[in-house]
């Protein structure tokens, strides 16, 4: 059975009377991977923040009842010497966290348990991104929101993060909403794509959307794009 998990209607966000987003409409079903793409400043992160309830908006954002949302931020502005271990970072979550759950979550993202004793600021960006994913999935959410999950990660790291995401989505039947610049990744892993440039410009399956004319429209004709031949 297809279960609708989120519906967004006539969403509009204004900051200091400048419209950041307008006329956004879409729906997501359980188990879908929705990718939100668009150039810098298109309002992608804003949309994600509105979905989380972090921004004021007009219009409607309706989640299915009792939905648990996990969130993985784009990057964390963290000092390398922050006095916080990875283990403590997990325990900040809530009182129900225990060692067994933490180790399970770490296994999901292919991190060694040894990382628990490291400082949260001294691990690599790629490792931290995995810790954040583990942190988000530890409470078994229904939906995972990802903001540019691989922004500062090298190419090998990016690939493994997405493969892991794919596996997570498959194993846990997660619904995933992800913001990404990387069209190859979007093409490979998403079921549905929304392209934004303040307004929603297109919506559909990746192979319908990601053709050259559309991309020219979104990115203003400068973005080179490698089209997969499957």
């Amino acid at each position: 059975m297809v279960m609708k998990i989120l519906s967004v209607k006539n969403l509009e966000i204004e900051i200091n009377s400048v419209k950041i987003l307008e006329d956004i409409n879409f729906e997501i079903n359980k188990g879908d991977v929705l990718a939100i793409i668009g150039p810098n400043g298109a309002g992608k992160t804003m949309l994600l923040r509105a979905l989380l309830g972090l921004e004021n908006y007009n219009g409607e954002i309706k989640w299915a009842p009792e939905i648990k949302i996990g969130y993985v931020p784009q990057r964390m502005d963290i000092e390398t010497d922050i006095p916080l271990t990875v283990r403590e970072f997990f325990y900040l979550r809530d009182a129900n966290i225990d060692e067994v759950k933490i180790k399970e979550a770490l296994a999901f993202v292919h991190l060694d348990e040894k990382i628990l004793n490291s400082g949260f600021g001294e691990i690599s960006v790629g490792q931290r991104q995995r810790v954040l994913i583990a942190w988000a999935v530890i409470a078994k959410p229904d939906v995972l929101l990802f903001d540019e999950p691989t922004a500062d990660v090298d190419i090998v790291g990016q690939k493994s993060i997405y493969e892991m995401l794919h596996k997570l989505q498959h194993d846990l039947n997660l619904t995933v909403i992800l913001v990404s610049h990387d069209l190859n990744i979007v093409y490979k892993y998403s079921d549905k794509v929304i392209c934004l440039n303040r307004k929603k410009i297109c919506e559909g399956a990746p192979n319908e959307i990601l053709n050259t004319e559309r991309l020219l429209e979104i990115y203003g004709g400068e973005k080179a794009f490698y089209h997969h031949q499957h």
């Binding site: 200091n16 923040r49 989380l52 309830g53 972090l54 949302i69 996990g70 969130y71 931020p73 964390m76 963290i78 010497d81 922050i82 006095p83 916080l84 271990t85 403590e88 970072f89 325990y91 900040l92 979550r93 809530d94 400082g119 949260f120 954040l132 942190w135 988000a136 409470a139 929101l145």
Partner: protein, 257 residues
């Protein structure tokens, strides 16, 4: 040791413990200067209370509460950075306080003197410190998470704005308590230096908070003790000892690299 010293040492130790605990979160949030600004905001409150023959603590807390609401409100309602708003409050209040305060009281309001406290005032300070410590310890996980990433905190249902307001209020209470000890000029250091020293050494949140409290209490007790021996104002002595601890912590940090 002189038995008369026990009361101010105990009071200073508890106030310093509460202040360093609050300070460890101020350091995490990188708002080290807010403590300074707040203590300056308290000055006109103290001055007015002195003029009206009221307890200076009351004057300080009323002014701080108003300032907190102002800072909090401006931060969420305008695009001005917290540094800017706090900077404006800071100098305006200091100027106002210096004008209003009776001249012979001004020095004490600026530099503090904990040895002047009556035993009732000491008792109230100690009890209030214990309450503040308990509240901070209870909120520590939420506070830390909200400071590391407010978005992630929000995603698990933490009300960041409310939490921040509570934290600022606790901060204001600690400042009001500490002002009697080190005075309005040096209050920021009572909050920040022990935590800054702890951060140089600590790797985990628990050791960070623990060390911060230990450094604060040590410097407070030693500050009172030495000031009584050499008949000096305790506030500045406390700060100098704290800075000495900070330098040692820097050396330890450097030697690890």
């Amino acid at each position: 040791m002189d038995i008369n010293l026990l009361q101010p040492i105990l009071t200073a130790a508890f106030v310093a413990a509460a202040a360093s605990l609050v300070g460890s979160f101020a350091i995490l949030k990188r708002m080290a200067l807010v403590g300074d600004a707040m203590s300056h905001v308290a000055l006109p409150g103290i001055a007015i209370a002195l003029l009206l023959n009221l307890n200076p603590f009351l004057g300080a807390i009323v002014f701080l509460a108003v300032a907190i609401v102002g800072i909090w409100f401006i931060q969420y309602r305008s695009n001005l950075s917290i540094e800017t708003t706090v900077g404006v409050f800071f100098t305006a209040s200091l100027a106002l306080g210096a004008l209003i305060a009776p001249e012979h009281e001004l020095l004490e309001a600026l530099l503090g003197n904990i040895t002047d406290l009556s035993w009732q005032e000491s008792l109230v300070s100690i009890i209030l410190s214990i309450v503040l410590i308990a509240v901070i310890l209870r909120l520590r996980k939420k506070l830390a998470l909200s400071m590391v990433s407010s978005e992630m905190a929000h995603s698990i249902g933490i009300k960041n704005k409310r939490l921040e307001f509570i934290y600022l209020m606790i901060f204001a209470l600690v400042v009001s308590l500490g002002i009697r000890f080190v005075g309005a000029l040096l209050m920021g250091s009572l909050v920040i230096i022990p935590a800054a020293s702890a951060k140089n050494i600590a790797k985990s949140l628990n050791s960070f908070m623990g060390l911060s409290v230990i450094f604060g209490v040590l410097a407070a007790a030693a500050g009172i003790y030495f000031s009584s021996i050499y008949n000096l104002t305790p506030g500045p002595i406390f700060i100098i000892i704290s800075v000495a601890i900070f330098i040692v912590s820097l050396v330890i940090r450097g030697s690890r690299k």
